[in-house]
Symmetry: D2
Subunit: 343 residues, 4 copies
């Protein structure tokens, strides 16, 4: 079985494994106060051209989302997000468990629009009983989105402009950010640091064993952020494990290479599906593909490959997901491509 | 100005005011342990034909909703409700502030359907990543709904059957229950006690100064409920004020009379609007009417009457709300009816 | 049985009952937006010499405490309070339920000391692992305290000075404030407004049916406070009931008169106990007395009077509580005084 | 500088590092559903002689504590713990942030007594206003405690008996459990599984990179536990990293060997301090030692060794902490022992 169902099936890139081996017996202080975390922070700040940013390392995406949101909002405030957003649909109510409502905006492809944000907030403010409704105070986007699509630089600029005009915090979940960075016309790390109040750079799905690097440029969110990390269970004792992973990812452009490679391998699969006339549920240029397969196609492919089923269709077919990861081999993609051609 | 914009514009029915005056100097123990609360509990249990029910008196609707839900759910569980439900749209995220997600179901008229509940829950249970999503564990309905419509007895029976089959708690918000009881074919108090796990009988909008009587038939929710009331700020020191109000409302059928009168006066207004060809946004048989007025009609009526605007329409008109209350006079309705005719 | 066990045994002072009767049929808008609330706010602001304060009316003390604290703190922040504080011992964890830890300071008589606050905060800040502990950010005091004692003006000034120096919010719970105002050398309303960031003026235990008036002078807490009230279930639909009660209490000095009378009647009881050589657990100059009775004394008094037992003693005696209220009669005090003399 | 200030200064034992290297390119499913987690679960259940237990792997101790407590309690319930408990003093209010109060019991050495638990609960139940106070529903102990002491088997049996008699959940935090298992007369893993409702086996401080294995024997807590893990941010994507670490720790008795070695090295240091007449703040038989050093002794030792200061003393000395870990070398202990002798 060659597995394509997710991008967290394997361990870490060799550069990270080597670091773990090399440093294993070193003694460093805990909780992210070690030299590896310090070095990784500096590299990320330099890469973001954001010398005044704060950088924190957390273990996973849900943890990053709930910690950032808890640190940012007062109790009566909510966070605007696409109705497909990870925080809305796949975190078991983690945001609500920290007391905040996710306020959803409609979406066709996982992205939300600046105009929809503006309309929502203005309608709230014009409402006579505004105090009886949750105050929208933050916007959450994912780059790339949960459906694999990406915001272009102009789209992010428009959202940022609306957020600043209305006094909203802009937060970007970058669990798969390397893939978005590999797309043309998308915001770079300096763009994200300039346009968002806080965002994170995902490691778990791009070659790390685990870890997300949260970059905060808004001073109000920076304040006391480590208290909130600790309170939510995210203060990692042997914190250097996070630091050395991100230090490796941001040495010699490794993070970008991983993203590019994941995207290129996915592009080959995308072309193979398209060449067979197989349509996609979402127009994803990143490492997650959502082809719509017939029952027969699913049956054939599932003999050799694993993939995940997203949505069963009345005709017996389904929207499925194929992912590439840092560890996906050229050979695996060659083989799958050939098998798609034979469908 | 004759006011029709809400049903909490005035004080209390004379029977309640008299009780307040008569008992003012009596000494009773606090926090709902007094004889008036005890008497009111007995009357409500008798009226519900539910001798084993627990009855608690709370000050308001949002408080009742958040207390009942906090007492009923574990942290990962959410409550299914119409997208128009009060807990979803008009309680400033009170449910999320207690840690729980409101899971919305589509609706056309404020009501939800047994089949939609079933489908939602079965889809959750069949989902591979069900543990990454909020577990639906409770169903919240309003009787009447926020749009003035009512569940018929067969509709409530169907919802109750689905809930029991799936192990869901059924909770009915009866902030305006007297009006629903006044409609033909709707569940009676014994029906509600038999079909729901918990519901409440609204006083605030039916002649009391304030107060909602929560009736609990499910033993798991009964347990330690008073602790939760206290924790959420709802343990009223001079608790007898709640008891004597409900004692009055459930003496000589007063509660039913209030509901019937409110509904009858509303019916006269409904007919007057209809006679002029004015349509309604929702088919409400209760004390809230939602006519769709033109700009001109609004202008004319607003010279003498107050009403609330629910939704501005592109043509300058609006969906508005007229309410009747226990204190609405026949004269006021006569006058408004006459003025509607002249529109 | 003549009851002395609490100060919420009766209804409201005649001035309030009259207002309720007189205004019952008036129509006013809801949720505290009516003219009675507006008038009461102005009177309270004038009485506090705090024209820029915000004043909100809540139904009860626990509700006021949890709403103010939720509005004031970020998630990692806690509130310093005496180990005997109401929020620590008698609110079923309401503060923790809103996510915040109560950080206790030792006390002998219910009061906390400026020096202890300072020491606690400086120790926190000097602690290497300060981020692993709750950040003290607010100080909660009760005036009078739960044990009936009062802060003198110099004591409150010292606490306020420490709080401002350290950037802490100072919050005073005034559930029985009228009695403290009646004592010599205690802070006046203008003192409280000047020295605290937020405090409340208790109505429930001083002649109202219910209600606490929250006075906010700190702009950060003012912001969006009504959202938080609504979210926590404290937005009272027929809000004018709160307004007209406080309007009555602050007309012709009624609030002060109630406090003075309660304190005077309590003083007579205090002297009677003292004359018999009966000691007190706490040196309370206000309307709650905590005499230490022998088993025999308890037995004798309980034949005619109700009082509450605070703490059973090994010798069979107990610390008990006698309270006076606005409704306590001179005759009742005469009788009890005479019976104490006969002990 | 030879470091003794904590037991999380280094990476992982060679057995774990080897596993990470060997399995790095394998493809496994995520979120703890992989074969390594399954194998580790079976080994732990066998070691605990608890075939019906549920075993879950979490990343850290605070996360384990807050997840277990959130899964176990209703909103009005609190957890009894020593006033020195980790959840009370060193988790930034994580338990309160999930809505629950920590109810403290006095302690001299970090342990709590069965009799104190019983007295607390009976006093709560006998209290007239019990509903105004937090309901004690769980007991949290640490084995070993935060001060390095251990519960003997009879002590744990007594606590368990009281908990079962009173209907309380017993939860043991075993962040440093290996060291307690190495002590004579302490509960074994089967004892813990038999006597507790839930406990965890700490990996982070005993040779793992990270990880705690939560063992649940109480069916009510088992139910839906994975939802709560996900909601609190603890659902680890590459879950096998946790599984293979615990699989290694429970192969060939490695976990016990680590604990024994840590304890033995600590015993040598303990003897060295004692031989010099240096007293200890707490009588710890485990890997954390708390000697009371004079200012001069601290100065001398700090030239070559790092240790942490727990409490400054008026005479300029301090209570300090020395820890041994799986990676502490015999040579380091030899050297420190010799230097202690020269003090």
């Amino acid at each position: 079985m060659i597995r394509f169902e997710s991008d967290y099936l394997e361990g870490a890139v060799p550069e990270i494994i080597k670091r773990l081996n090399d440093t294993n017996l070193e003694q460093t202080s805990g909780y992210g106060t070690d030299p590896y975390c310090a070095a990784a922070r500096e590299k990320i700040k330099a890469e973001c051209k954001a010398p005044n940013a704060d950088v924190h390392f957390l273990v996973g995406g849900t943890q990053a989302n709930l910690t950032v949101i808890a640190a940012s909002l007062r109790p009566h405030q909510g966070v605007l997000a696409a109705e497909t957003a990870h925080i809305e649909v796949h975190e078991t109510g983690a945001i609500e468990a920290s007391g905040h409502k996710v306020l959803t905006l409609p979406t066709e492809n996982g992205k939300i629009k600046a105009a929809d944000i503006e309309e929502y907030v203005l309608r709230h403010r014009a409402d006579e009983s505004f105090e009886h409704t949750v105050q929208p105070a933050m916007v959450y986007i994912s780059q790339p989105t949960e459906t694999g699509t990406v915001y272009s630089l102009p789209e992010l600029e428009a959202i940022s402009r609306v957020c600043r005009g209305l006094g909203l915090i802009l937060f970007a979940d970058g669990a798969r950010l390397a893939c978005a960075l590999a797309c043309e016309g998308t915001p770079t790390l300096p763009d994200l640091a300039r346009l968002c109040d806080v965002f994170y750079i995902g490691g778990t799905k791009h070659g790390a064993l685990f870890g997300e690097a949260v970059v905060i440029t808004n001073n109000a969110i920076k304040r006391d952020f480590r208290y909130i990390i600790k309170q939510r269970g995210g203060m990692f004792a042997k914190g250097r494990l996070l630091g050395l992973q991100f230090d490796a990812l941001f040495t010699d452009g490794l993070y970008y290479k991983i993203g590019s490679r994941e995207a290129e391998l996915a592009a080959r699969l995308r072309e193979a599906f398209a060449a067979k006339g197989i349509a996609f549920k979402y127009p994803s240029p990143t490492n997650q593909l959502f082809p719509i397969l017939s029952k027969k196609q699913m049956g054939t492919l599932s003999e050799k490959y694993s993939f995940s089923v997203q949505e069963h269709l009345p005709n017996g077919g389904a929207v499925v997901r194929f992912c590439t990861s840092w560890a996906t081999t050229t050979e695996a993609v060659d083989e799958l491509t050939a098998d798609i051609e034979k469908l």
